[in-house]
Structure formats: C-alpha cells, structure tokens
Symmetry: C2
Subunit: 427 residues, 2 copies
C-alpha cells in the first residue's frame, strides 16, 4: 500500500451529483460479468468494483482478510469476519477509490479488470439468507392495520408497546430487485361467505420496509446480543418490499400469524448500504412510553433519517406516480432493539440473516406504506394521473421503492427495489 494515500471524499471515477452511490456509500453486492462466476463487489456511481480482482492484484492487504473471500457468489463469508476486519476493508476501499490515492487509479491493468460498468454485469442477490424475520415496528402501521382487521378497541395489542412484535418469514422466497412477482393463488373467505374459495389473490399489496443483515461470527445457541452490542452485529441495510396477499392473510392469520399471504415473494434492493455509511444520518427514535424493560434499552438505539418513496407505474401510467413518502426515522422499535429482542431467549444468529422492519408508515395518510392503509382497505381508491384508480395492485403494475439519506452535497442511497405483477397462473 502506498503510505502517501490519503482519504478523500471524491473518487477518481466519475459519480453523478445526484447518484445514490458516491464514495461515502460504497455498498456491498454480488455481480457476475458475462460468462463469469458471481463475485463480491462494491458499487461506486455506475460501476461495480470487483473485490476479488482487487484482492488478487494485492491491493486489499487488510489484516485478517482471508484470501479469496470475495471470489464467492455471496457475501456471507466476508460478513462472518470480525467488525474490525470488515471496517478496515471498507476503509481501504474508500482510500483506494479516492482521487488522492494512486494504487488503483494509476494501475491501468487492475482498473481494466476490476472496474466494471454496471451494464456489463448481472447483479445477483448479495447474500445466502439463512433466516428471515419480519417485525412490525411502526406504531402508525400497527395501529392502522389493527383498526381495519380487529376494530379500534383492539388495534394495538396489549404487548405492542412493550416489545417489538415479529414473526419468522420465508427465506427461500427473498428475491432480488427486478424479479417479476407472480400473483399468488390461495385460499380466501369471500365477504359474507361461510366457506372459503380457492383462486387468485384479489387484494395484492406491498409493504414498504427496510431490512438489515447480521454480521460477525455465528453466535452460540443460548447467547444474547444487547442493544448496544447490536451496533457491531449489523452489516448494513436494504430496501424491502414484503408483498402481501391481504385476502389470504385475513383468512389464515389466526392464531399463528401470516403464512401463505407472505411467503410467495419478498423483494430486496441489490446493494447493501453499509452500517458505517449510515452513521451520519442517525435519528433519535420516537419517545417510548412506557419505558421498555432494561434488555430493550441502550444508548446506541437509533433509527436513520432515510427518505423513502413508493412509485407506481401501470401500462397506462408510464411515468412513476409517487403513492407515498415515508422515512425510516418513524419506526417505534429500532433495528438494535429488534435484534436484542430476537436473541433475548438465546436464539442464535448466523452472518447473513435478514431482519426487516415491517411496514414503515408515518403520521399522515401520504406516508402510509401499504395500499391497505393508503386506500383504507380499498374504500378510498387512489386516482392516478392516467385517470386509473387503484385499490390494490393489478396485473402489469410495477412498484419501485427508493430511499436515500441526504448529506451535505451528496446522497447515500439505496437505489431501488422493483417488481412487476404478473397474472396468476391458470389452476
């Protein structure tokens, strides 16, 4: 390593002023060049930086970073490393890609190998997800749904203000952004009917969520992660669209929770924004009253000021229409509290487990993170500029969720997570 290298805020690679992916971000992902195997990468502007190539060229000499750890189709082995090694790797990448350092900038051969235009690669799901958990951490969302499913008197269950309610989700059906979503078929109870029917879901919905991946070596069964320890155990965040079949959900969810209504697909954005890149955007969470039990308290408990938007396009509405604007900072229960609660019984974690927030709704109607809430169960349809109405999603609709942190003259963003609704299969 050239000892004269200096950290610097700008890269020697071009990055558009409004890019989500400046040097301050450097999110983690997995890409495959044409006819080549997937390998780990970071994104800078519209380029993917092949980390396996950088390491092979000797430019990633970081204490404790195993050789070949990036020449793999998922980030899990890197995520398993101690925090100090992961952070040192990120620091070295930030240095290498900065304009003040010549190690990569002036090495034409390595640049040709390692700096890949995004249009020349396929972006893959970045992680082999072991377990996927979904929380229910927005007070506004839980209240809205509670009113609609159970009435105003039972809207927030008695436990809700005392613990971050969550449930285990289906890991196999977590898919990368852009994967088309097939409208599911399933069992539903039609309004006023006594017996259920089988058919295509009619109330297909989104949930605007964010998720985080765990990092560090696997924990042992029986051990816990405290709120303050969680900071060292979170790798980074992604956008999550937890597609939901509301009619299937309503019929099946008691007493064991959502099942088929959720397990047909969950989409995530492809680039994991590092925990370190988010630190300048920490936001104080809403005051918690009653005060949580001690195991749910910690000085490091925080949300982030991440602006979130949901855009809808349809065959007749080519320009995305923004159906809602929300923000990560609205969450009542923070990521650190979610992880602490998840492990309080001794549940073990592996690097690459995914924990999602639940729908992030804000205080006013324009900030509700699902069509269920936005249209109040279909009773108040949204009118698009095309003149179309939407209560829930129709075939051919495409949903794109985006999110970003606004820095001083730069953005740390998440790109987007998109999915188009395909018609149900015959059956």
């Amino acid at each position: 390593m050239d000892p004269t290298c200096d950290p610097s805020r700008a890269s020697f690679l071009p990055v558009a002023a409004d890019s989500h992916f400046p040097l301050q971000n450097l999110p983690w992902g997995v890409v495959a060049p044409t006819d080549a195997a997937p390998r780990c990468a970071v994104r800078l502007g519209d380029h993917a930086i092949d980390l396996a190539a950088l390491q092979a060229a000797g430019l990633l000499a970081v204490d404790g970073l195993p050789g070949g750890v990036f020449a793999r189709p998922a980030l899990n082995d890197f995520m398993a490393l101690p925090t100090v090694v992961r952070r040192a790797t990120r620091a070295r990448l930030s240095e290498l890609l900065g304009e003040g350092c010549g190690d990569l900038r002036d090495a034409a051969n390595v640049r040709d190998q390692a700096i890949l235009p995004l249009e020349a690669v396929t972006v893959h799901l970045p992680v082999r997800i072991g377990d996927y958990t979904d929380f229910y951490s927005s007070r506004e969302h839980a209240t809205n749904v509670g009113i609609m499913f159970r009435g105003k008197d039972n809207a927030l269950m008695p436990n809700w203000l005392h613990l971050p309610v969550g449930y285990h989700g289906r890991a196999s059906s977590v898919v990368k952004s852009g994967t088309p979503i097939r409208r599911p078929r399933g069992q539903m109870l039609p309004p006023d009917a006594d017996t259920p029917v089988y058919g295509p879901c009619r109330l297909l919905d989104i949930e605007l969520e964010m998720g985080f991946f765990t990092a560090g070596p696997p924990t042992q069964l029986g051990s816990t992660i405290s709120v303050d320890e969680a900071d060292d155990r979170i790798f980074g965040l992604v956008l999550v669209n937890d597609w939901s079949a509301r009619d299937i959900q309503k019929w099946e969810y008691q007493p064991l929770g959502p099942f088929n209504a959720k397990n047909f697909a969950t989409s995530i954005s492809s680039w994991i924004v590092p925990w370190e890149a988010l630190q300048p955007f920490r936001a104080t969470p809403p005051a918690q009253d009653p005060e949580p039990l001690p195991y749910l308290r910690g000085e490091k408990s925080a949300n982030f000021d991440i602006a979130l938007e949901v855009g809808l396009t349809t065959p007749a509405q080519a320009d995305a229409f923004t159906v809602c604007r929300s923000n990560h900072k609205y969450l009542y229960w923070t990521p650190q509290q979610q992880l602490a609660h998840h492990t309080v019984t001794g549940c073990n974690f592996n690097p690459g487990d995914l924990l999602a927030s639940g729908t992030i709704s804000g205080p006013d109607k324009g900030s509700y993170g699902s069509f269920l809430e936005l249209t109040w169960r279909g009773t108040e349809p949204i009118t698009l500029p095309s003149g179309e109405e939407r209560k829930f999603l129709q075939d051919g609709d495409t949903v794109a969720i985006t999110g970003w942190c606004q820095g001083d003259g730069y953005r740390v963003g998440f790109g987007e997570v998109t999915g188009e609704i395909l018609p149900a299969l015959a059956g």
Copy 2:
C-alpha cells in the same frame, strides 16, 4: 455390481431383534469418525455405513449419482437428486448390506473402512436446513390449546378445518438430539399483572411432533407441488421436539404468532427414516369434514402408523417415566397436504427444508403431546414414581421422544430425540 446379488431381508451384519434400524429401515444421517470430516451415512443396527467410502470403493455405481456426493457434511446435495436416483441408491444399499450379496460382505478392506461402530463416530445434524416450517395439524391439540388460550367458543378458529394452519419457524436453532436445552429468558405477563416482566421462562414445555424433509431439485418461485406430487418430494421423517416457552408465547403471540417462545431450540432425531421405508405403514387419515378444497385432495394423502412415546427422567427419577403415548396416524392434515398448502401460493422449496407436524395429540389424555395439555395448564400435575410432581419442565429434567413402526417381526424406528434442561443463565 455383482449381477447375482439378490435383495434379502436380513443383513450380514448383526442387528438386534428389537432394533429400530434393521435392513428395512436404512435411515440417512451424517457422522464423523474421530479426527475425520463429517460424511453421509446410513445406519444399520449399531453401525454407521460410510457412504463416501462405499462410493470411493466403487460399490455405489448408480446412474446419475455424482461422485463425492456423500463426502460432505450434510445430505442436501444427495437430497437434491431426482427421486429415481435416490431410490436406486437406496435399493443398491439394501442389496449391498443384505446377507445374499458378497460385494461388500466379502470385501474385508472396504468393510474395515466403511462399516463404523456407532460408538466410534460423532453423529451430526444430517441436513443444512434452509427453511423450517411448523404446522398445527392435530385437531385434538388445536382444540385443547384453543380452549385454554381462547376459551371453548373460539377453540378451533374458523379456518382450521379448511386448511393446514402453519407458521414459519427459526431454522438456525434446529439442533440434533442430545443437545442440552438452556431454559430461555424472556418477556412475560404475570397472572393478574398489568405490565410485563423479564426473567427465566417458568412454563417450559415440549411439543411431541414429527417432521419431514423435502427432496428433489429446488422448485421455482411461482410453482406448486400437488398432494400427489408431494410423494416424490418427501425425503423422509424425523422425530421433532418443538420446545416451547408457554408464558412467553401467551404474551407475545398476538397478532403475528409464536416467535421467541419457539426460536430458542427445536430438537430433531439424528437419522432420517426414508419415505420408502415408511410405505408399508401408511394409515388412512381421519375423515375430513368439510371436504377440503380440491388443491388439498389427493389419492396419496396419508399418515403413518408410527407409535410415539415421550419419556421423562429427572435427577430423582432415573428410570424414564412415560408421560404420553401418541401416534402419527392421528394427524388431521397429512404431510402431503401440508406441502401442497405451503406451495399453493408459489412458495419455492429447496432440498433439505423441514416441515413439522405440530404437536401430535390423540383423543384421550394419555395421548396428549405437551405438558400444557397433559397437566391442563398446570392445574392437574403429573405425579412421577419418584413422588415428584410436574406441571412443566424443571431444570435437570431430560425428555426423550421415541417412535417406531411395528412390522411383522421387525421395527422401522426413529431412535430417539433427547434433550436435558439446563438452568437459565444469570441476566
């Protein structure tokens, strides 16, 4: 392969008359000899048969069986093969280990390498479990729990007779038989209290269950598995003890289902009894009224006549006391119906996913598969021969679940799944 080999019912290896593991069983597992890496095996009597060694010696020449597929620490790659390949492998193993075939019997060198006394190996978790799902398929269990948690009027939810209710569980904490179980700490609402407390679970329970592993190549998102197709997609069955913290469960489970109450540990028996070995023991499931929707019907839908027993030992009760006797045949919803329902929305499956039945309770009190039901929420304690009483599990208690099919002069059994309760950690 010696073309004169004949299938035969007895092995050239000694197998005790009451063994769970005669030639008719040949369950799949993973073992590690001292100072050697784990590899795939079948069990015969008190021996593990090293399949990697058999294949390396040229004795497992089966069309479509990849070289080295058993030299791995989990069965997943073998489970991913088409049914015809897996069944041909089993047929060849049955032949090789039978008394009528000399290929292995007379090959002293291979015998020395491949036939391992069980006491000389460590038995591992047999599968890298991708997703774990737990159903709720016993009508008697659902009714009993419903009465206790929600009262007689809401015992069986309206959906229960129309679909196999299930929920996604935690895969990371599925552990092999013999793993000690640490009493979890968590959040509970004491009786008559207004606010919850944090502390060791007081109502620690078992759930007597059976689970099956999926097989075959990964399915695509959006595709389904019908009841009759499920037969080709089930690899085999294991005993399952779904440890449950009833006080944590009662406080947390609404509206999204059990979470921390279940995710601290789920124990499974170590040898997977093949689907093929169970076929002689198919049992007609209980009549289903109302008739399920067509997607839940199939001619191949069946339970098995598997006798199940739960034994309890305590520091003062060294001889296991049988607390209940149940049977797989009591299940209202069959394994095939569970898999068909799980995939009806297009949820994808990988080889090595685990689906458990839920507690298997029978019609009378002696057949209830949990302490919750056996002691009717602690109101009717069990008295052990030692004079001790049990409402729920105490520290130092050991639970052993066993199960077997009784054939004509032989048993196809599951061995047992055991776990000892360790005291909660300070905290």
